[in-house]
Symmetry: C2
Subunit: 435 residues, 2 copies
């Protein structure tokens, strides 16, 4: 049986998960591929010996030693972050190794260099685990939906943010408290910025957009807002409007320009994305031929991520064995077909909006606010005024009809400048029922 | 640019859909694969000329002419049914052509012959469109989840049945009425037996089980019940129990034996499968590494099916172009690794049950019924007695704790033999919350 030798850089949570997957599934992979996939070497600066169950896997503290090992066919990078990950990946490619990575930050920022180098050296780059964890979303988009113009991408792509929003929704607890609890339980990082501010989601959306539309894009091109300003009261009002609040990645293909944004969104309860709870992810594509497709599963975690990395390894191993390296372009379009596209400026976005205005409880406030909205052509669908207390500001909550983002920005600037307005207005975009 | 020539047998709804997909996406497929995928010939006994938009596609009324055409690389069979489809497929394979089919009846019944012949002749067989329409479920199972032991398969795999149940649920209309309406609107066949009696779903489950477990199975091995006995009152009671009724395919892998069944099921509202509405399909896998994964989309229809058939064509075209035919075994395991497995007898199933007993409204009925259940070790979780009319039978509705199917069968036979019981008891299995 032909043997394919894997070298793994990074033996942290995901790296050790991959090792476990390859060990547990070795026989199954042989029965499915006719190939022996062997973890031959591990590079990690922090460990001095491999756990005994992994047998005769060589261990090094020097990634260069692994990359330079002529025995290794596929180098798996699971250390995360931009550097030294990029150097390792580029060196592996230059050494003629195929590469598998789960590193969405690296790919969304440095993907252009990496894929260009891979094309030059005729090696494969697998990155199934970079979006949607164990969900085979990259393969579905690249191969399963190959005969589609992708019209839109929408998704819940960060399990931590979705876990926090789900607990806020189910238990009515404030953001800070859920976050603290999630950190204690290991569901959130000590520095949760990437997860809760939408940056990790933007990394993933950039990867999907590149593949869906054949375009150059980095996460810096994506308008990104997080969920840290969402309060239990917003979730309560969302419920009254028949919605749940989700951190969504949204992209629509308008032909000559494409939307690219990540933000908290009110999703109608009947929409499948509203039902995605806890640490799960879901990615929703609309194709011009296939219509709506949704893929759901665990977006992170040791074994789900290991499952996706292993799938890439097997895919590349099959190409090595059949001499068909380069069979499918990694970004779904041939490199020369990937071009620049215009990103829709956020000011041109139009959708319905939710506003929560904190105002002093005086006569005439609603009239002043609605006057400003009307001047900016923003039409109110409904107003709720609740939580009238003895003193202090009250919340005026509104749902608008479809309005233009630029008008909304101007109107809210004027509203927030009113003497009677006590705090910056919270604005949440609403997904329309049929989207 | 290398050209791959496709011959299509059957120019009905799906066949013309495929032709439209290939025409609409020709340029996109070139940009993605570097190959020209050309529909070169169509065989159909019922048409005398091709619609003009398809240009210079040759037309024949004789499938043998297409199969024997040395120009054709891939033969697509879209006529459905067992014969003459099997003959065409076997002849195409014998002629060294790769085959793509959407024919789940054919594959679930004659798959063994077909895949054996394909292995012998070294050709590919693509069948993405046979399960889940446009959803890339076959590829996900075979490649995306390759590093998983599949622990369970659950799915809504028939859009017609799901459409009928959804309308019964949303509008409270009886089965017959919704079916008639669906037939008039073209959502249901004139003979709906395959769809509403679960047979089509069993075809699809047999295909997925073969691939998931590497086992020989035909739809005849699957315990199959339909939805034609479900009444609006059952849907109403399901709602009171916090459930929706769905026609589910269910298979669990117990190692030495595997469950295989298709039947109406009460699905807890919080389960994602309960949210799948209308003509949509959803397939839920549990893998030992990846955990739960769900794939959702349109399970039928001209263009979604065309999208899946086109994806198979591109996949095979890439293998032809790179000389890697046979790169992935079609049934996910190497042919020699596919073996017989024991199917769990239905009598050994255990789950909670819903019973609707039609009884004469006399004192002592509930006591007689519950006495019988207790003798068979079936414990009642809750009882609802409703619809007490002036005369005629009443419904006694029960939800049991987990019970053994063999005990349930015996108990219901005794209950139905009681003088006071007016009609056969309706039994619906309940999916447990955490499944």
């Amino acid at each position: 049986m032909k043997e394919i030798r894997v070298g793994l850089i990074g033996f942290g949570t995901v790296g050790s998960g991959l090792a476990e997957v390859l060990l547990a599934q070795q026989e199954r992979l042989e029965k499915r591929s006719g190939l022996r996939i062997r973890l031959a070497k591990v590079a990690d600066i922090n460990i001095s010996e491999m756990p005994p169950q992994f047998g005769d896997v060589a261990l090094t503290n020097d990634a260069a030693d692994l990359i330079g090992d002529p025995e290794i066919d596929i180098v798996v990078e699971l250390i995360g972050g931009i550097q030294p990950a990029k150097t390792f990946v580029m060196n592996a490619i230059a050494a003629g190794k195929h590469v598998v990575t789960a590193n969405k930050a690296l790919l969304s920022q440095e993907g252009r260099d990496i894929f260009a180098a891979a094309a030059r050296h005729g090696v494969e780059v697998g990155f199934e685990a970079s979006v949607g964890g164990g969900i085979p979303v990259i393969k579905a988009l690249r191969e399963g939906l190959v005969a589609n113009k992708i019209l839109s991408i929408m998704g819940i792509m960060n399990g931590t943010a979705n876990y926090i929003l789900t607990r806020m929704t189910d238990e009515g607890i404030p953001f800070d408290e859920v976050l603290r609890d999630a950190q204690q339980q290991g569901f959130a990082e000590a520095d949760p910025t990437y997860d809760v501010e939408g940056i990790d989601t933007a990394h993933k959306l950039a990867i999907l957009m590149t593949m869906a539309y054949g375009m150059n894009i980095t996460h810096n091109d994506i308008a990104t807002e997080g969920i840290s300003r969402i309060e239990p009261v917003d979730i309560e009002f969302a419920r009254e409007f028949g919605c749940r609040i989700k951190l969504l990645a949204i992209s629509r293909n308008h032909g000559d320009h494409v939307e690219a944004r990540v933000h908290a969104t009110m999703v109608p309860e009947r929409h499948l994305l509203a039902s995605i709870s806890g640490a799960f992810n879901a990615i929703h594509f609309t194709g011009d031929m296939v219509g709506n497709v949704l893929l759901y599963g665990l977006g992170a975690g040791k074994m789900p991520t290991g499952s996706a990395v292993a799938a890439d390894i097997v895919d590349i191993a099959r190409n090595i064995a059949t001499g068909s390296v380069g069979r499918v372009p990694p970004l779904s379009y041939l490199p020369e077909e990937i071009s620049d596209r215009k990103i829709t400026p956020m000011e041109e976005l139009s959708c319905p909006y939710y506003f929560r205005i904190s105002a002093v409880d005086k006569p005439g406030v609603l009239s002043a606010v609605s006057g400003i909205l009307s001047q900016h052509d923003i039409s109110i669908e409904s107003v709720i005024q609740k939580g009238r207390k003895q003193s202090g500001p009250v919340s005026i909550v509104m749902r608008t009809h479809t309005a233009l983002e630029s008008s909304v920005s101007k109107a809210l600037a004027e509203i927030d400048a009113l003497d009677v307005v006590a705090a910056p207005t919270v604005k949440i975009r609403i997904l329309e029922e049929d989207e």
